[in-house]
Amino acid sequence: MTQNPFNNWLLRLFIKLTLRAGSGVFTGVPLHRLIRSEGWQEDVFIGKAAGYEDDLAAVIMAGFERLGVTSESLSGKHVLLKPNLVETSSAKSFCINTHPRVLHATIVALRRLGVARVTIGEGAGHRRDSMILLEQSGLIEVMKETGAAFVDLNYSEVCAVPNAGGITSLRQLMLPRIVKEADWVISMAKLKTHHWAGVTLAMKNLYGVVPGAYYGWPKNVLHVVGLQQSIYDVAATVGAHFAIVDGIIGMEGDGPILGEPKRAGVVVMGRNLPAVDATCSRIMGIDPAWIFHLAACPFFLGPIDEGEILQRGEPIDAVKTEFRLLEHIHVQRFLLKRRTKTLSGKKETYGLFTY
């Protein structure tokens, strides 16, 4: 931890969360993790896929099998898939949005496991017209092929849920009812760099669960209370059960929209979102301990330390490919310095943090 840039912030966060836990305000977070003697141990599966024409259902079935996801646990259930549908751009949709073939493969795999109902839900941040996203991402074809329904989470009926993260000033989050009513929520993210958050993976993807009708477009309230902090809070409160990250072709540079395609050839899966995101970051050549919202996770949400993540399928080194980071983008500059070990030794500040 000595090199972690967030040590002071993490200490304050630890005290804050512990006090909240003690006062009974804190809900929904596995507090027992704090006091258990053994460390975290979460499994993450890395599957290889050269392209979207591969048998992706087989890759995802292999991941489910290695992670102990069985028909006994899913038979008859209702599963909500939350893809990353960000932007309309037919030309670059394949590297901006979760690819429709990955969604198709997931639906096929879930049905093989006996899932009764699959719903696709998204509350896009930039586009109120979700139908144009369905069209330009190609997801509409998957809906026709599979019969899966789509729910626009921006306008869904909501319920108030106590903020289980507790980092931001938000006491509760208004979440679509379907998110709490579904038996399983899967965050189906894209492997991308991000110009505000550093990376956008399974945790950041859950921003799209929060309804625009209550938080604005593009999720204005969350940006105001702190982007990194609210990524943590939303992920903690939504409590997704599983993550599948489409890293077959991701995005590097000025993500999540204006970057360049980057082929990584992987599908990353797991039950614990911080562990999945930490693995994805390592595949991208980015230290997860330097991503603000991931650095906060080991207290309550999940491990990011390599020693606490049991890697299934391919080893990280076999698939690692550095995603380009841009010097002129503040958050990426620090990640780049960490990667190239070119920290100057003199203090530099970015937002709340001093390096």
Binding site: D129, M131, I132, K144, H195, N220, V224, D254, L258
Partner: protein, 298 residues
């Protein structure tokens, strides 16, 4: 227009007990869906008792300070206020509510701050408009909607309206069109959206010379023939109609969009209503809703 009766009936079916409309069949009352559904039904002179009940339901939703929020337990989301104003306009029993709503808009703005040319974002963050949600920055669509509401109620000359139009112009993309409201981040121009463009163009119509928005009009003209999704098509048609450039195929495209619910699933009530209103508003929303009453702001 083909099958119009089917879609008007669909709107009617989404009415809820106590007046107003839900976002989907069987759903709960939602203020914005209520305003749009009632505007569409009224424009087609259908279900007028339901329209009157919708106006009353919105009055019941209005908070003391004049705003109409998406949810009374979440007053910070006040963006449906403009839509309520559109519906209350011209209805004598609702003039007091309308006046309070207009006053609320005129004394409310987003969060603004000084902008420097080397900032990460490309737009001038100091020019005031309106936000979706209280205590956040101003964005294109709520600003344009509020401008339409002020225009309809005779407040288009108010200094807040003038500044908001300046804000919209500042948020126009160099290559044409608008998006939610960020022109550039880290020096790269972001992508346009037809819905934001249609709304912004509509709000600016009759206040600007065409050469100031020519590239945005060209963007919509190029994209409309291949677009059938509801918000993008609906607002594009309304925006172009306000600039007297309504395409001849408008009704045909609207029908096609409505029929696509077979594949997409049921549209939100507000989206169906927007398309039905666009079908009737051949010169834009303001012209279609124009009635003699105006409101004096205090």
């Amino acid at each position: 227009m083909n099958n119009i009766r089917k879609w008007l009936t669909e709107l009617e079916r989404r009415g809820v007990p106590g007046g107003g409309f839900a976002g989907q069949p069987g759903g709960s009352y939602r203020p914005d869906a209520t305003a749009w559904a009632a505007l569409a039904l009224e424009s087609w002179k259908e279900c007028l008792p339901q329209v009157a009940a919708a106006r009353d339901r919105l009055v019941a939703s209005q908070l003391k300070d004049g705003r109409v929020a998406i949810d009374p337990t979440y007053p910070q989301a006040f963006w449906p206020t403009a839509e309520a104003i559109l519906l209350w306009h011209g209805s004598p029993p609702h003039q007091s509510s309308l006046k309070r709503a207009v006053d609320f808009l005129l004394r409310t703005s987003g969060v603004h701050y000084r902008w420097k040319r080397d900032d990460v974002v490309g737009h001038d963050t100091s020019i005031k408009g309106w936000p979706w949600i209280e205590k956040t920055h101003s964005w294109v669509e709520p600003t344009a909607m509020n401008l339409l509401a002020l225009e309809l109620t005779g407040q288009s000359g108010h200094p807040r309206a003038q500044e908001a139009r300046r804000m919209l112009l500042n948020r126009q993309l160099e290559s044409g069109g608008w998006n939610y409201g960020n022109t550039k981040t880290y020096c790269l121009e972001l992508l346009p959206s037809m819905e934001s463009t249609g709304l912004a163009l509509h709000a600016l119509a009759e206040h600007l010379e065409e050469n100031k928005v020519r590239s945005s009009l060209a963007y919509l003209e190029a994209e409309m023939p291949k677009t059938r999704t509801p918000l993008w098509l609906g607002w594009s048609l309304l925006g172009m109609s306000a600039w007297k450039r309504r395409p001849r195929e408008a009704e045909e495209w609207i029908t096609e969009s409505l029929e696509r619910q077979k594949d997409y699933g049921s549209y939100d009530t507000a989206w169906i209503a927007l398309l039905l209103l666009a079908a009737q508003s051949t010169a834009g929303v303001i012209y279609a809703l124009q009635r003699p009453e105006t409101v004096e702001a205090s």
